[in-house]
């Protein structure tokens, strides 16, 4: 098992490397970026850039400096905001995004698997029907429709929840209810469908028939025999789900006016602030890579065919 973990860990490094390198080039080559000879920049930024990037040195040396900076965690100065560097923005906004994202992921897993199990056990009865209808809804309706609609009914019309703000402010934890629901909905829906289908398929398999033939009771069969295998597709899905949550957070943060990383990402895209843009991409990528790594390990733990071969 340990060998497996180490192997997977080593696999991370090339991907990270590729992303950082691409980032390096994009910042330099991008049209409309500060290195674009045609663009005129305010003198403070120009000064910052020249100081930071040592543009007079050879490309290779610049790359080397860049890598060292990365290793130290320094993502460079912002092109649009001369007083702050990228780290400043990220440092302040990342925790909020992580909080939202983790809550959304956790909730979607727990609710998703639970709902899927109930649906599978009560196949074609009203519980199944209701759950799957909600699931179809969650998958089809985009988050930028769900968010505003929720806000319209729950905040504006009924006044139950605040329209914006953060937990550190006046309204405390009630501010994240709607954002988290909006973020969670499509992934909960997908996982509910996925686990339902997976459980149903495992229930039909030969080894469950053997378990029944041995006289085991239904709850033992479900929790000991079925779940382990049935959850594998759900675990595989965690990686893409988290990637989706990151993407979705960009919209959710805008709708509910949460100053998270997503906001800065979009701002940077509009402003062509490439260091900020690539900085956020690198941070997101690192998070995703770590998340995929953890998912891989969990999968290997659950499926002995992979780790014991």
């Amino acid at each position: 098992m340990t060998k497996f973990i180490i192997r997977r860990f080593i696999g991370l490094i090339p991907t990270l490397f590729i992303i950082i390198t691409i980032s390096f080039f994009i910042v330099r080559i991008a049209p409309g970026g500060p290195f674009d000879k045609e663009k005129r920049l305010p003198p403070e930024i120009l000064k910052n850039i020249e100081k930071k990037y040592h543009l007079d040195e050879s490309l290779v040396k610049q790359y080397g400096r860049y890598l060292l900076d990365m290793a130290r965690g320094d993502l460079g100065p912002s092109f649009a905001y001369p007083d702050h560097d990228v780290n400043f923005f990220i440092f302040h906004s990342l925790p909020k995004s992580i909080l939202l994202g983790t809550m959304a992921l956790g909730l979607s897993v727990i609710l998703g698997i639970g709902t899927g199990m109930i649906s599978a056990l009560r196949q074609n009865k009203w519980q199944d029907y209701t759950a799957m209808s909600i699931a179809v809804f969650g998958i089809t309706v985009p988050n930028f429709v769900v968010g505003p609609v929720l806000m319209y009914f729950l905040a504006l019309k009924l006044g139950w929840l605040p329209t914006s703000g953060w937990i550190t402010g006046r309204y405390g934890w009630s501010t994240i209810i709607m954002p988290v629901i909006t973020l969670t909905l499509p992934y909960f829906a997908y996982m509910a469908r996925l686990s339902r289908a997976s459980i149903l398929e495992v229930l039909r398999s030969d080894y469950i028939r053997t378990a029944r033939a041995k006289g085991l009771g239904e709850s033992v069969i479900m929790f000991k025999h079925v779940l382990k295998g049935a959850l594998l597709p759900v675990v595989s899905y965690l990686g893409p789900a988290f990637a989706g949550i990151i993407t979705g957070s960009v919209v959710v943060e805008r709708i509910f006016r949460i100053p998270g990383l997503g906001q800065f990402f979009v701002q940077a895209a509009f402003n062509r602030d490439y260091t900020l843009l690539m900085g956020t991409v690198i941070v997101y990528s690192v998070i995703l890579i770590i998340m995929n790594f953890i998912v891989d390990i969990i999968y290997g733990y659950l499926d002995p065919r992979i780790s014991y071969s």
């Binding site: 039909r204 398999s205 030969d206 080894y207 028939r209 053997t210 378990a211 029944r212 033939a213 041995k214 006289g215 085991l216 009771g217 033992v220 000991k224 025999h225 382990k228 295998g229 659950l302 499926d303 002995p304 065919r305 014991y308 071969s309």
Partner: protein, 328 residues
């Protein structure tokens, strides 16, 4: 070897499946008896109902499409179809065990062999973990798994196909059941392994006094192993006889065809290999007639109109064919 007492009696079992295309009469009036220590062979082509009959006895038929419509399965006098779920679970793996065709998919790939064997043993025999594991190792040794003490903690994918089937047998016999139902246990294995597995089943059935129902499409398998044989076709039993009688003196045209289809090495080969012409019928909406008549060289007019009655021949045989009705 047989011992006289009837431990399982199946009477007029009918199991139908409700599908989009119609009602499939998979088993349509099957009756047989199993004696203590006997090895009974059930032979027939694919989809003739041999597996479904035995799955019905174990009450393992998936219930939305399938339903046991009629009949009784008497286990030492008690009707299985009248039992509650708890009672059924008590005899599964305990008094009647079943092993299946494909050992690759019949074991849970995510759990260790020890876990899977110990849970059965603890469930039916109430031992503690240590003792149950020892029993599991004992059984593995009995079926010929080398180094059983170490291998018991392995996962199924670490065993080969033949080894896995041995594990299945060990698991099935671990609670010393009165009956072992073996549903095509060797069909998915190589021929050389087949012989080994059949040997093991035969040996253990003698050693432990277990009655065996051997389901197969292969006449060669039953010839070497069974005391009595039932031949099934299209959901019904067409002939029943002790093994020697069946091979030397087959009565039903289908049985005769089956036996003739087996190529023989001890006779000079002349011309084409024999096979019964035609296809088995579609068991959906089967009209009342002898289901074999389209392929039967001796078909008569009445065969197209009514189902042939069961005629006993001697003490131990019976056959279901209109040819005999006339004679008797």
């Amino acid at each position: 070897m047989m011992n006289g007492d009837v431990i399982l009696k199946v009477e007029n079992l009918k199991t139908y499946f409700n599908t989009d295309d119609g009602i499939v009469k998979a088993v349509d009036g099957v009756s047989f008896e199993l004696h203590k220590g006997e090895t009974l062979g059930i032979v027939g082509e694919s989809a003739c109902g041999k597996s479904v009959s035995n799955l019905s006895v174990m009450k393992l038929i998936p219930s939305p499409p399938g339903k046991i419509m009629a009949g009784k399965a008497l286990l030492a006098g008690e009707n299985i179809f009248d039992m509650t779920s708890n009672e059924v679970r008590r005899f599964r793996g305990n008094r009647i065990s079943m092993i299946f065709q494909d050992p690759m998919t019949s074991l849970n790939p995510f759990l260790r062999i020890s876990t899977q064997m110990v849970e059965t043993i603890r469930l039916h025999q109430g031992m503690d973990k240590k003792d149950a594991k020892e029993k599991a190792v004992e059984m593995l040794e009995l079926v010929g798994i080398p180094n059983p003490g170490k291998r018991v903690d392995d996962y199924p994918h670490q065993f080969s196909g033949g080894m896995r089937q041995r594990v299945m047998i060990a698991m099935a016999l671990s609670c010393n059941p009165e009956i072992l139902i073996a549903d095509e246990p060797t069909s998915a294995l190589d021929v050389t392994i087949q012989a080994q597995i059949l040997e093991i089943i035969k040996d253990l059935s003698v050693k432990l006094g277990t009655a065996v129902i051997m389901i197969t499409h292969d006449l060669g398998v039953v010839a070497g192993m069974c005391d009595n044989i039932c031949v099934m076709y299209a959901g019904k039993i067409v002939e029943k006889a002790p093994v020697d009688e069946l091979f030397h003196n087959p009565q039903h045209p289908y049985t005769k065809g089956l036996i003739k289809s087996v190529p023989r090495l001890d006779q000079p080969q002349r011309g084409r290999l024999f096979s019964i012409e035609g296809q088995p019928p579609n068991v959906i909406d089967l009209p009342e007639c002898c289901p074999f008549h389209p392929r039967c060289k001796q078909a008569m007019d009445i065969c197209r109109k009514k189902y042939p009655p069961v005629t006993a021949i001697g003490e131990k045989c019976c056959v279901s064919c209109c040819l005999f009705k006339e004679e008797s």
